[in-house]
Amino acid sequence: MNVHEWGDRRMELIIGILLRLGVMIAGAVVFFGAVIYLIRNGGAPLPDYKSFHGETVQLSTVEGILAGCRQFRGRAIIQLGVLLLIATPVARVVFSAVAFAFEKDKLYVCITLFVLAVLLFSLVGSSLG
């Protein structure tokens, strides 16, 4: 087993932990929000999902979601968990870039940073637009 393979194996193990942690935290936050949401609204009739209205600013922007969490709203806490879930693969790419840099693998540092740039373009670009 050469140096690259050994480094890759370690990276895989750490990525495994990172992904598991991210998903567990996101899942726990969504579950917590779900409990609040269902206790307060569980008996209510179903909202209209048959036609599309689009979510309000409170549930479709980072600022709106955080404001809703401070007011302890179930739906906002669920959306926070969704945001954490979206952040998990992004964190994985950030970690991979650092790990490839430690391996002094310039080619894969460049490849990984490009992927990161595309992800940030989507996340930041969409919140500006």
Binding site: G16, L46, V115, V118, S122, G129
Partner: protein
Amino acid sequence: MTILVFTVLVAVSSFMAGLVGALTGLGGGVVLVPLLTMAFGVDIRYAIGASLISVIATSSGAAAAYVREGYSNIRIGMFLEIATTVGAILGAMIATMVSARAIAVIFGVVLLVSAYLSSRKQREQPTAEECGSLSEKLRLSGSYPTPNGPRSYCVCNVPAEFSLMFTAGTLSGLLGIGSGAVKVLAMDQAMRIPFKVSTTTSNFMIGVTAAASAGLYLSRGYIDPGLAMPVMLGVLAGSLTGAKLLVKAKTKSLRLVFSLVIVALGIEMIINGIRGTL
């Protein structure tokens, strides 16, 4: 139907979708969108939003288990993510311009073609000499665990693979699915990577691909918490169960199940596209 009943029903269905998604490398998304729209009467845009979130959960949840087993190839995944993420953004952008009916028909055809390709006879496992120089330059070759110790493999047709991945990414952004079928088959057929490696590496890439379009979907208001919550939690539980089974499952039966799922979904997509019910 009350919110509580709806939540439980959607969570149970999502568990099944997550299980199948992880076992086949499809991601729960392709099963979920038809399920939510046809069984639960949810608008396609909400279905796509919830599906996209579940796709990230499936991928990350299952990949966490796979990477520890040593099946997935991080370099192949990262290299191909260049193509899938750029494609995903393009897909999310053209989603607003193309009719859902046309997309459904095209995708159904893609699934049927994929099923045909996967049913063809397997070629001989290529040796390092047969592979292009790109496989070596990009350090894409690797090895995976077998009962007889690690087995090495290398990668063929890198440019063809790269463009197929761009297509997979575009479909992912367009339909809010993982496009695992296209990814697995591209790696399986074009690159000729062992099936378990391609399935797990595909699952690994899907989360990053979906994250590339998720930001756009969230800000467009496609992601409803009341719907995304049972879908995400259900799929997550299902995919973790599926990941445990995959390591034990035999490749042959896995491939058969995989092909049947693709055929069924392809026909479903085409019919719904023509009827305009998707």
